[in-house]
């Protein structure tokens, strides 16, 4: 494991050119997550319809790892049920804190596996996910 495994092509790509990186005006869940250790911020917007994540986006100020993680997260979550999303998050957390290889269901998220060798950066990779969870917990905004 070295620095090139952490900063893989896919991470740099999503980290410097993130997908779904905008405000979602018709979101019915949103939350702003903050990492006080580094000052990174991410705002996650989710549109949930009939228990399905019809759309999800984010805006942020953060490093390549946290930006790439948020970007890949939005790609993966779109169209998933809430339960499926929770399941992916659990697998992703496990991936970052264990020695096991990534399961196929994680898709592009597996590219973040390098983070596990950089303990101070694990929070960067999970910030968007924790924020997504918090967004779901926030009461639906009918305004």
């Amino acid at each position: 494991m070295n620095i090139d495994d952490l900063y893989q092509e896919l991470i740099i790509d999503h980290g410097t050119d993130p997908r779904n990186c905008h405000v979602l005006n018709n979101a019915n869940h949103e939350f702003e997550g903050f990492n006080p250790l580094c000052g990174d911020k991410v705002h996650v917007y989710v549109l949930v319809e009939n228990d399905i994540i019809s759309d999800v986006s984010f805006t942020n100020k953060g490093c390549a790892i946290s930006t790439a993680s948020a970007s890949i997260m939005t790609e993966i979550l779109k169209g998933k049920t809430i339960n499926a999303a929770q399941d992916i998050f659990k697998q992703f957390q496990h991936l970052l804190t264990s020695e096991e290889a990534a399961g196929a269901s994680l898709g592009k998220l597996a590219a973040l596996v390098g983070v596990r060798k950089f303990p101070s950066r694990v929070k960067c990779a999970t910030l968007a996910w924790h924020t997504f969870q918090q967004a779901l917990n926030v009461r639906e905004n009918h305004g």
Binding site: I3, I12, C38, I65
Partner: protein, 412 residues
């Protein structure tokens, strides 16, 4: 001996500089966070615990008397270092943070009331913001702020208007921990004193690099930490003019800070003990004394010139890097270099630098209001010490170029 050999000799006194990081030699450029310690300091701490460990003051046995003597000798060494008039004006605390909290709490309790003002600046470290903010919340006083310029210098054009009849204290850093700016504190002190307002100087970043003379400055309080001055963590200094310290109530209660205790009445101890409740970090204070001895036998002129030249070399080399932007361009500054690389977050720079053994600090450096001023989440910061050499800078530049390669390869 030429400067290079002289610095090489100094380097050999710092064992931590031999550490390997990811199979690369450590390049330690995080000295503003804490400096490394010379073997002489490590030995002094070890010797204290191995031979004279005991609690100081009031002991009648050999160990306690010896430890007390060396502890109090350190107070005199510090008095000499900062040219305090009386050794009782030098209070041992855990560090800069505790010293500022002590003053905010004790001075605040006695002298600060609702509608009073406390004047600080945009570039203060959180430790010179939060204790005052807490005091304001307790008393209903207000925090007022000296602005800064784009070059990272205090904007003192409006200072006179900010020094109001209800301004009770000015608290300002001697040197900025993010920008390296050396502030014109003597001028600020004079202007404040013209209106009878006392001034606290946060000297955390100045003590390791500048000669400090508290009588010449005429500051009312001067605070700093041992661990940034090649000395141990866990010891720090509160210098206060005796007249102020005598008027101020104790900060913490406990052993050593009293003369007499009954359940009806307590008589406080004299200075400096009034502010030194409980068992201090004796070993760390003694280690600080050893650091002062160590620094004293060095040639200050050579070191000052070396630090100056090293900073100039660093700026020349770093300026050549594509997309680098510096924060803190004061004319009068020390070797603290804050920068960003275009489109690359400081944390990514720090992680990649670490991979190649280069220790820099990244983030907000406990200066969130300052980062807000510049509209950035943080910077990468390389901070120099006397034992750094040109090749450290070369390795930093190499790793910054490497960072750019990693980030830009997919844009080929």
């Amino acid at each position: 001996m030429d400067t290079n050999s002289y610095i090489a000799k100094i380097r050999s006194n710092f064992p931590a500089l031999n550490t390997k990081v990811n199979n690369h030699p450590l390049i330690y450029l995080d000295n503003a966070a804490t400096s490394q310690k010379p073997q002489q300091v490590i030995d002094a701490i070890s010797k204290y615990y191995a031979t004279i460990n005991s609690n100081i003051h009031r002991g009648v046995h050999f160990l306690s008397e010896t430890a007390t003597e060396i502890y109090e000798q350190t107070r005199q060494k510090i008095q000499n270092t900062i040219n305090a008039k009386f050794s009782q004006e030098c209070i041992f605390v855990r560090g800069t943070t505790e010293a500022i909290n002590l003053v905010a709490s004790s001075f605040g309790q006695k002298f600060v009331q609702q509608r009073d003002e406390i004047l600080i600046s945009v570039m203060e470290h959180h430790s010179n913001i939060v204790p005052w903010k807490l005091l304001c919340e307790r008393t209903g006083a207000k925090l007022t702020i000296i602005p800064i310029t784009e070059t990272g210098e205090l904007d003192l054009t409006g200072l006179d208007a900010l020094l109001k009849p209800n301004t009770k204290i000015v608290a300002i850093s001697h040197v900025s921990n993010s920008l390296g700016t050396i502030n014109p504190i003597k001028q600020i002190i004079q202007q404040a004193h013209a209106k009878n307002i006392p001034v606290l100087i946060d000297g955390a970043q100045a003590l390791p690099h500048l000669k400090v003379d508290v009588q010449d400055l005429d500051c009312d309080f001067y605070v700093g930490s041992a661990h940034k001055c090649y000395a141990p963590m866990g010891a720090g200094l509160l210098y206060g003019k005796r007249a102020w310290l005598e008027k101020m109530p104790p900060y913490q209660g406990g052993g050593n800070m009293i003369l007499q205790v009954t359940f009806d009445k307590i008589t406080y101890n004299e200075l400096p003990y009034k502010f030194e409740a409980g068992t201090p970090s004796v070993a760390d204070v003694i280690g600080w004394g050893a650091a002062i001895d160590y620094l004293q036998q060095l040639d200050y002129a050579i070191i000052a010139q070396h630090e100056h030249d090293l900073y100039a070399y660093a700026m020349q080399k770093l300026s050549a890097i594509d997309g680098i932007k510096f924060y803190g361009k004061a004319k009068n500054k020390i070797g603290i270099i804050s920068f960003t690389l275009e489109n690359i977050h400081p944390h990514d720079i720090g992680t990649i630098a670490n991979e190649y053994g280069v220790a820099i600090r990244t983030g907000h450096h406990c200066n969130m209001p300052l980062m807000d001023f510049f509209g950035i989440p943080g910077t990468a910061r390389a901070s120099l010490a006397m034992y750094n050499v040109n090749s450290d800078i070369d390795q930093l530049c190499w790793v910054l170029n490497k960072t750019q390669q990693i980030f830009h390869r997919h844009q080929k």
